[in-house]
Symmetry: C2
Subunit: 235 residues, 2 copies
Amino acid sequence: MSDGSFVSPAARARVRALAVPIAVGLGRLGLTPNGLTVIGFAIGLLAALAAAGQLWILAGLLVVFGGVFDLFDGALARATGRVSAFGGFLDSTLDRWGESLIYVGVIAGCLGVFNDGAVLAALAVTSASLVTYTRARAEAAGLHGEVGIAPRSERLAVLAVGLVITGLAGGVGPYVGLRPGDWISLPGDHRLVITSGQPWLALALAIVFVTSTITVIQRIWHVRGQAPGAGEPRR
Amino acid sequence: MSDGSFVSPAARARVRALAVPIAVGLGRLGLTPNGLTVIGFAIGLLAALAAAGQLWILAGLLVVFGGVFDLFDGALARATGRVSAFGGFLDSTLDRWGESLIYVGVIAGCLGVFNDGAVLAALAVTSASLVTYTRARAEAAGLHGEVGIAPRSERLAVLAVGLVITGLAGGVGPYVGLRPGDWISLPGDHRLVITSGQPWLALALAIVFVTSTITVIQRIWHVRGQAPGAGEPRR
């Protein structure tokens, strides 16, 4: 598919051909191409949760399973003539979202202790990137995606205020983002307990995360209104 | 600009008008619109480094400065008739990249100790998102951006292998990603020193980060080859 990829176009085509009978079988069970796209996203979400819980092998297997499952939505759409601009947009957007959330899960899992600043920053960058992506992807499909409550300048303004207040509130030690009561387990049954936290940065990141996520959903809804349809192949 | 945004279109138009004389002045100093785009990206990079170093107020001020500076490239391109498809693509891509790197800096700053797994995962998700974004943005401009060595299936395969090996290598404690010799400062001049690390997940994330970043640069180069030009307004 892509020039210079590790996998040849011929190998990709063979894998795609193998997916068709399974995809058609899933269609006979009553699943639509867009339904398969949403199930693929849910598998990515499970992989993210497994990584966050340090269940690394399960996370890796779910990543593989989700990657294979991702072939079926496009295969079913092509096989049943239900290719649509909205289906392609939804597939691209949820693939991007699912992959990003897996990395957020890896970040949470690597920390071993809940750090709300780091995790919220990872969630914020994921949703903020999707705000930008959904617009470009909609325009690439000849549609419009520029609605939403959280464009870039507003996100940056909220983040800047959070950063400056955090600094003015006395700066932060190495435990910024940790909340009182959080702990880190030490060897030999000891715990490092966090006794003070700094809420301002986490609050700003939470605002960016929530408003960006709402904007992404607004954009998916907006594109759906322009181009209703059933499903399109992954590009 | 965007329906439902916090800022009215009229207010945005007034701010844009204020930027024109400054932008033209910067142009008289010999700077091109694309040059201003690259400088804006560099300001974002500095904001990211400041956040990573827990210099929160400086980071916040650099975010504001970068946001204002971002008005000038488009204003100069429009004022001097140097609007181009490549300029718009470069502006969108570097704006997206710069904003994402700021969140990576916030993640690093929130940790207070270098955690290579979490930071590499944040870098990997940033570059992987840009691989997807550059293609959609190029296609939205009527160009092609599907070159590159790291499409989604390859990224996911590398990540899955890293996750499974990490699990098979005995799982990980709360210190996954920390390398031997890293330490966390504790109150009262004590340090929590990390005595064992787990390189596999970090290695997989580093491969995804590096190959994705190369792919993004390949795509920018590829788009530039199709549509050489000087600069275009931010959309």
